[in-house]
Point group: C2
Chain length 493, copies 2
């Protein structure tokens, strides 16, 4: 039948760029965008024996700790392996501390198996462990386990909450306030839902601090053409690495209270604070301390994840959100919406449980766990400092301190001639810069334009995740590239 | 600060039932709907010492095999445990067959860790294994690994593809053809995206077969008010359990070809065929055999999952889709959309790999694997038969043969007086029936109205997953309940 006469070949496809959902077309996601596709091409070219001025592509485009060589936390993996293959409960090479946690998790699973669906909000005992963890983290501020929803990574939770807030028919009237620079999940979700992105600019000259006057400005400007309903905050900042002060958080919450905004607080980097003068303050704790008229009214969702912190377990797609002051009827709708996708992956839920219920000082596993955790966080602090220092020594690069999270977002001077060349090529100047950096050094970083930035400023985001040795080499190459780029396009230096 | 004067209490919430996205409000998902919430309440009541005419709630509402006591396939769990905790590679208690698979999967992961993000379409070697599996399943029909996309369960893949096809602004003009009865993920997704649900009715009198004339009728009727662009098929059927004949599939594909419809083929039950005169035919293979003018043009996506088959690994949230004849530019858009959620969970990807790359006859692990697999599938076949037989012996219940999948969807006679009572209570008659069944016997099944059915017919869906012993008890209780229900409402028997 393969050689039937082909007399009526169907030419037109049903799904084409013309008929594709235009909201999907509008989505941009720089972290895995064109530059990363190019990096993949170069990798394949090298594998197939091609030659370049470098021997490997270093992907500093995404916060993917294990891919950069970070070792998993032994205890976490032991618990998840025990849950996966309970026959290991009999193995003497697994510690009792891990076994009782695995047993407890499995008790909460249907048929005591990680292969069952959980309730859509997650396994009950894991939700309880998370609530207990939050109470401890926030020094006694109460947390109700029924406000905890496990998620498939933080991205999933953020999309779900936005889906509730952005109304299909009215989408183009719903304003979502996001920081600029931002993590592009936010702009992608806003595009996909056809909502209105309301930018508030972080203050680069003030270490990327959030300025309350800028929030007011952005809000008032947006009111002219939409109804701002949500404010998104990323603390510690991605890509900017700043850690918000308690005073700043109070101001944001007061603003949200005054303007009736729903608050989405992306706190996935809560364990990644390096600057000695900085401290993570949860939005929830600050709200509590502002008094009951705030704590009983401001609608707040906080997001956390297994992917960051000291565990870096991105592949497990684990996370949770805590939902405060949500209308009970709306909460029922949230559960219904979650239930359509059945439940978050159970291995990710188990990983999340270990993060909120880690070995305690009196447990045998504590010492190794604590060593591994400190080693990861200590190295990150060192790499944050190193990155800032080396970048700031390069003429034409200015990098704010990496107070937290996993990225540097340096400002780069791009000579006018390079800006013109980029424009002629129809690309952003920092895209040209990053493509050249990739082609010449094998280093893959993401242009600032993918995160948003003030007009006529240019940046890139790089992770600080490579090993110290590799990071030193990488930063040295960035320096050399930048100097020669300046020379090429300005004839100076 | 907690006792500050509360002089300005904010009353109005930002997110209320009035401001909630109405498309979310419109979503219904019966499989985890009101009846299941009620079952949870009763479970808690029993746990707290309350008494009922039964001692436990039996949840036959959802295809959750492990929760019903099915044991995981040892080999699958060994591979996933090895991937999770690679120190186990040194353990003599894990078979070499499992170790080499785990090593191979980890080779494909960043940093050789399950904790890394994979590429958004999934780990490359797993995509290749899936393509090889499909070629073997379809007796040589070629499969390109670049057409394979791992998913977070099949639901995730189905939602993603619909998202491409349903345009935000034009959503209310996009028709999506679905079988009735259907699995409510489809109607839920259609509601959430505000597309138009175009029902084609399966023929209950003909063992739930798909009748091509009914497809034409539904299509022509829909053309009056929308543009049908997609046809969804579930084969083997959920909740109906029918297995489509090759001829029927040819007719559907020819129809899709003629009418330029995008075909979504939900084939998650492809390993669950019990009737001796039935066989699973993949839409792709049938399309191939129809000749190149079809095989090179009809846009087809087929979905599979780790959750069903003989593994029943729902909690891993694993699955894949194979995408045929999609416009290359649209495929790039699909990858972009997938990348916003980064990647499917790696443990689920690993589980999927074991399903498509199981132990071979020459491997040491084959015997145990084969025994476990046959035992699960053999028991399911037996339970399918048992369910049909016992239900058909009840006056007022008529159940088509369960040819495949995991459910019976019997038609139940509900006396007019009960129908009236339900209407007075503002509920569907089969909801009343299922609620009474739950209250009186502890058996949780889902009303047919949650799946769709012809007017004035009533059904429920129950899984055939409980153990033979439990299923016998369950079916006996259903029989007794039904007889007394008839008696109560009709005075007859």
């Amino acid at each position: 039948s393969l050689i039937q006469k082909n007399d009526r070949l169907k030419i037109n496809k049903t799904l084409t760029m013309d008929t594709l959902n235009p909201q999907v077309k509008a989505v941009e996601y720089a972290v895995r965008g064109p530059i990363v596709l190019k990096a993949g091409e170069i990798e394949r070219y090298l594998e197939e024996g091609g030659t370049k001025p470098f021997s490997e592509v270093i992907k500093a485009n995404i916060g993917d700790a294990h891919a950069m060589g970070q070792q998993p936390i032994t205890f976490l993996r032991q618990v998840v392996a025990l849950c996966t293959f309970p026959e290991l409960m009999d193995s003497p090479s697994f510690p009792e501390d891990a076994k009782w946690r695995a047993r407890r998790i499995l008790q909460g699973c249907g048929g005591h198996s990680l292969g069952s669906y959980s309730a859509s909000p997650g396994v009950e005992c894991i939700r309880k462990d998370i609530a207990a963890y939050i109470e401890q983290r926030d020094e006694g501020v109460p947390s109700d386990w029924e406000n905890i929803y496990l998620t498939t990574g933080a991205s999933d939770g953020i999309m779900t909450i936005l889906r509730l807030l952005v109304s299909g028919k009215d989408s183009s009237r719903t304003g979502v306030m996001i920081p600029i620079p931002q993590y592009p999940l936010y702009s992608a979700a806003i595009s996909e839902m056809d909502a209105v992105q309301v930018n508030y600019y972080l203050d680069e000259d003030n270490c990327w601090a959030l300025d309350i006057n800028e929030l007011h400005r952005a809000y008032q400007a947006a009111k002219q053409h939409c109804q701002p309903r949500v404010i998104c905050i990323i603390n510690p900042g991605n890509p900017t690495g700043q850690v918000q002060s308690k005073k700043c958080i109070e101001e944001v919450l007061h603003f949200a209270y005054e303007e009736n905004l729903f608050v989405m607080s992306d706190e996935v980097y809560q364990d990644n604070v390096y600057a000695p003068d900085c401290q993570f303050h949860s939005f929830k704790k600050v709200l509590y301390e502002m008094g009951p008229e705030y704590f009983s009214s401001v609608e707040l969702v906080s997001f956390h994840s297994t992917s960051k912190g000291y565990t870096g377990e991105c592949g497990f797609r684990g996370g949770y959100m805590e939902v405060i002051n949500m209308d009970p009827e709306v909460k029922a709708q949230l559960v219904k919406l979650l239930s359509v996708r059945l439940c978050p992956p159970l291995a990710g839920q188990a990983a999340m449980d270990v993060i909120v219920n880690p070995p305690q000082p009196e447990e045998h596993t504590f010492k190794q766990f604590h060593q591994e955790k400190s080693s990861v966080l200590g190295a990150l602090a060192e790499k944050a400092k190193l990155t800032e220092q080396i970048l700031n020594a390069v003429p034409g690069i200015k990098c704010n301190p990496v107070q937290g999270a996993m990225y540097a977002f340096p400002r780069i001077f791009i000579p006018p001639k390079a800006v013109e060349e980029a424009k002629a090529l129809g690309m952003q100047p920092d895209m040209l810069y990053c493509l050249r950096l990739l082609e010449e050094t094998g280093i893959c970083v993401v242009p600032g334009s993918g995160f948003g930035q003030k007009d006529r400023t240019y940046h890139f985001r790089m992770t600080i995740l490579p090993s110290i040795e590799k990071l030193n080499v990488l930063l040295g190459k960035v320096r050399d590239f930048h100097i020669s780029f300046l020379k090429e396009y300005s004839g100076l230096e």
